[in-house]
Every structure is written in C-alpha cells, then in structure tokens.
Amino acid sequence: MRTPQGDPAADDAELVGRVKTGDRSAYRELLRRHGPGIHRYAERLVRDPAEAEDVVQETFLRLWLRAKDYDPVARVTTWLFRITHNLAIDRLRKRGRSAFTEDPDMEPGPISVNPPALLEGKQRAEALTAALDRLPPRQASALSLVHLHGMSGAEAAAVLEVSEEALESLLSRGRRALKAQLAGAFANEAKATP
C-alpha cells in the first residue's frame, strides 16, 4: 500500500516505476534516499556549491521527467550517479576545465594539516575534502564513489564508464596520493594515541 510519505519498504527500481506514472511520493522517497549522496558527489565534481545545486536539480528533474530511460539492469543509484556525473562533466567542459583529462603522473604534494586535537568531526571531514580536491578528478571520483557512497567497484566503474581494472588503478593511485597528502595528520594522530 502506498503512503503519502513514500514507501520506505519499496525498492528503488519499483519507486522509479511509480515515478514514471507521475507518483510524487515515490519521487520524494527517491530524493530522500539519494539526494544527499548525489549532492555530495556533485560538489566533489564541480567544486562550486551553487553549481553543484544546479547539477542536483537537473539530476532530479531528469528523474521526474525521464524515468522511462531507466534500465532496470543497472541499480538506480548507479543510474542517478551517472546522470550527475555526466551533467557535472558537461558543466566543467563549458567552464573550460579539462576536468577529466587526467595527467597520470600528476601527484599532488602534501597539504598542511592541523594538529589532531583540531581534527575532530567536521574538521577532519574538511581536511579530507581538501585532500580529495587536490587529487586528479578521476581518482577523486573513484574514491568518492567507492568509499563515500558505498558503491561496489563494478557500480563505480559503470558511473565513470571505465573498466573495473581501470577503476582499481584509479583507486590505488588515489589512495597513495591521499596517504601522501595526509601523512602529517597520520603522524600527529599516531603521536596523540596513547
């Protein structure tokens, strides 16, 4: 039975099927489930809060108007993130940023990280965001999809339209670069641990 607040028990694909028929409660349930993750991912890609909001709005507008395009072979999460990814890349291209033409040799230098006492909660997340922002975009996207959004390698590869092997390479290089950037913080945390 449908409820006015959506249907938390319904799976995503079923909700998309209902969106096709103009069911607003199904749309809102999908927004509740995926909105925060989509927003975070859009911010990671475009690195501009206002533009990220526009990308999220376009993504959900597409969900509302073009739900028929959803192919149930893929998970709804993968489909939505892929829309977001493509919209964000289009915007970056228009902006003239060579966002996804990654230089494989580019290794960002370490960032200065505050002492561990300050690296609690939000600040720790901000330090991570700053470190991710310094990575080549494809590495940052791969790490973000797998670690921050909980996608499997296959799903993240589908969003980025690369092979799973290529995704593993992006993840490995991204993790190595992040470790190098956060090395100071790691050392400080190790010292602070009794």
Partner: protein, 149 residues
C-alpha cells in the same frame, strides 16, 4: 572456487582498502581464506585502516534545506512526465484514428471511384445477356457457359 594470489590480494588492498566488504564480491571469500592461511597478509589490511577511517569521516550527511525544499517542490513546478504506462492504450487509439481519417478521406474522394456504368443502351444489353445465361443455366444448357476458343 575462486583462488587469489598474494599479488592480487595486495593489489585489491591497495585499491579498495582494508575492509573486505568493499572488495569485489567474487573475490571476498577467497581473500578471507587466504588471510586465514597466511596471517602475515593481515598487515596489508591494517596498513589501510587509517586511510579507511579518514574516508569514512567524509560520508554524505545531508543537503542544504533550501535545496531540499526546491527539489521536493519540483514535481509541482516541472511539467508532468509523459504517462508512459498508457502507451498500451495509445497504440490502438492511434490505429482507430488513422482508420477513421482514411475512411473520411475516401468518402470525400468518392467521385473519383464511381463506376463507369456506360449508356442506358449498354446497360440494357448487359442485362439481357445475363438473363439469357441464367435461363440457359436453368434449362441445363451448360454449353451457354462454354468459352469460345
């Protein structure tokens, strides 16, 4: 059963980190078994734990309230999606509409399809010939229908 080499194990740890639940599902069980056989490989996983903890701190935690409001109101402001579920009704409707339109068009052009009935004399001659054939048939004279060579 999938087996995993040490090199592949290290490569996966390098890519996906120290939490086996993030590794590709097809290789997880083999990885667990390899760690049981080779406990020294556990160090590969613990080496990644620190970065994993950092990455976990960056998980999504919501979106601005103003954006959420805008997105929630989107179905009210955006056009309605096309009712794709009604396609099954739409196809026959289009078919009938087309047939009706074709019928009207034919009706409008009926003059063009009138039979060339010829003059009154010709009609009477045809009727007489048909009557003669019918009478011959009634009399059993099948020869009336024989084709002339």
């Amino acid at each position: 059963m999938t087996t995993l080499s040490e090199a592949r194990f290290r490569k996966l740890a390098d890519a996906y980190g120290g939490k086996l639940e993030r590794w590709p599902a097809a290789e997880r069980q083999a990885a667990r078994e390899l760690v049981l056989k080779r406990p020294e490989l556990r160090a590969c996983l613990t080496e990644e734990a620190e970065l994993d903890a950092w990455l976990d701190s960056g998980r999504a935690d919501g979106m601005p309230a103003s954006l959420l409001e805008r997105l929630e109101a989107l179905p009210e402001t955006a056009p309605q999606p096309f009712p794709w579920h009604a396609r099954s009704l739409l196809k026959p409707a289009i078919g009938w509409a087309f047939a009706a339109a074709f019928g009207l068009w034919l009706g409008a052009r009926s003059d063009a399809f009138e039979l060339d009935t010829g003059s009154q004399d010709t009609i009477e001659a045809r009727q007489s010939a048909e009557e003669a054939e019918l009478l011959a048939l009634a009399a059993g004279d099948l020869g009336a229908f024989e084709e002339t060579p």
